[in-house]
Amino acid sequence: MFSKSSWRSILLSTAALLTLGITSQSAHADIPDENYQTILSHLLTSVVPPKLDAFHTATNDLAETMDDFCSDPDQSELKDAQTAFHEAMDIWQELQPWRMGPMVANGRDQHIEYWPDKHGTAARQFRKLMFDKPAAYTDPEKLAGASAALQGFPALEEVLFDDKHAEQMVAANEDGIFLCQYGAAIAINLGTLSGELQADWPEFAKAMRNAGPESMDYPTAKFAATDLYRALHEGLLIISSQKLARPLGDNAQGARASRAESELSERSLRNIEHNLIGLFAIYDGKWGDVGQEGTGLAALIDSSLLDRSFRLNWKTVSDAVADLPPSVSELYAQPDGYAALAGIKEQIDFLTTLVENDVGGNTQLGGGFNALDGD
């Protein structure tokens, strides 16, 4: 993990860049709309679909693994199911920040992962579920019409990673059999949701790609590309204000690891690591082995120095997150754990500032007279 002083020195280097005059392009000529069009086309039709395919595959694998586990429940099969959960969750966490179109249609993102659960809805409903054990919740189709809090990753996490539930399933007692069938239904439902997402995406991508004066949704490619910029910006805000601020609380005394996302499966910081991968794809245009470097929003930035600086800053922060243990509770168990998490939040906030000033300004996507300063 790198020190606070080292990332602050990077901030200074960016300030130095700005002093040298490598500033916002907003004072320059308008970026041609076709430049935005190229980025939209690349990201939405070449980069995202393979990731949606991978997510669908991972959720189907999860469903198969759950089925195997329930057929012959033992510790080894449980471990396989937990591994399949993590693999599907890794891809979901990369997709999660792309909050647009089919991702949010019909509450899909919330059905996939209902979080944050500010009122403890899931825990309350889960207790009632275990008391009643209604058969409908073991039927994937009926489960799809149930509460969002009981049909996505957090519900499956409760089934697979709670020690008591794991013991019950391996013991195959009455509660365990219900839990296993319920977990299997959740996994199948996740496969259905990811399949719907995969199927709905092309039409949405087409609408964005075909931006123009006749479109009532996207009158210009620039306007459509604003959704990409917003996803990048809001993704960082969500990491800071929810995924980090909630477990941090107001101070060290008020810190609670249990308020972090996916803490039961001990992957709250691993989630952020994957969020950053998905978010950086918006900027870079390359996502794992898909796409090409420099074909995302970065293609609109006409200063190679500023681009390099942004990449360096992003890498510094994402490396710092990757160096942390996978969960907040594990980090808090370390002597300087709280300070380390607070430091990560500061770094994410710093990245947010860079996105607002450097990316928003140079891509001409971050402005708006009424949008930025309304009343």
Binding site: P116, T121, S241, G368
Partner: protein, 379 residues
Amino acid sequence: MKHQRRGFLKLIGVGGALTLLPTSITRAASPPAIEDRAVYIAASAGNNGDYYVSAFNASGGILYEQPLPGRGHDIGLRPNHVDVAAVERRPGLYGLILDRHTGNVRAKLHCPENRRFYGHAVYSHDGRYLYITENDFDQARGVVSVWDAQDGYRRVAEFNSYGTGPHELHLMPDGEHLVIANGGLHTHPDQDGRTPLNISSMEPNLSIIDRRTGKLIYQAALKHDWHKLSIRHLDVTANGMIAAGFQYQGDITDQVPLVGIWHPGGDIRPIEAPDTVQVRMRQYCGSVRFDTSGQVFAISCPRGGLVTFWDAQSNDFLTHIAAPDGCGLAATNRTGEFVGTSGLGNSWRMDAIRRKRVELPDDSHKSLQWDNHLRRMNT
């Protein structure tokens, strides 16, 4: 918790060509050939910290630009008179009475030292009194000041707004009552006058007061879970139905309604758009405006760059039209039609029934950034 938005998927307007409207509204829609002879007026800004009240015709041609000492907000129209009132946005100090035909200054209003204007003003039906929302910042309470237009715009009274951070206000159809959107946010000029100081404890409400006595007649608030929904803008139909737009002060991903309907005496009924639109509203509504028939209302969402349209009878979401940085809205003389303006300089004629957006043809209006609100003046 069952996802609540599913019940609102009742339109084909998202991505479709035509909105499904009640047949009564569709029949009432007039052909687009009729010339709108109205003049539109709004606060505006140039590119160098210069601010104006500007008027343009139905084609978008600028008629005049009257410089302002600071950024304006909304314009109050004095019935059957040349006066219009431009009040500085919060924390405002100036108010100007302008000639609606020329923009010339006819009178000046000075905010008391311990008050700040909040950008909105409305006249009584007879045009005699002007009502302005203000912040009594030391007491953290909202007030409505009363100015006598027949007595040189003398400040003659001040009423409690029955809330904090009052913003838009309207006269009710009976002409005897004012409805006030108390946004709930406390601000103080010593702390820039705009930064909210009480988000955790804010209590927005809609209040109706007697315009002559200041007595509270009705008041309604949202449930406590939604206390961070700042109720900021509203419009009223001829039958007294109120539509309100909210601005959320909580998390980006919180699922909260952004629009409410209020029949005074009852509760505020929250309504939502389908998820794909609701997310694009970005937790923030700008202007609220009923169309000329009172059957459709529009709510702009400048952060999301779209205008949403709603059925005033069923309260269902109808459709949306993209409007980058669009905020100002005024009803034209046609059912379901509005003129909208944007901070990017665009002005459009938007037809909620045909889901159509047409740029006003005269480019002279594009030289300005159009501020949050737009008013239509009959000629």
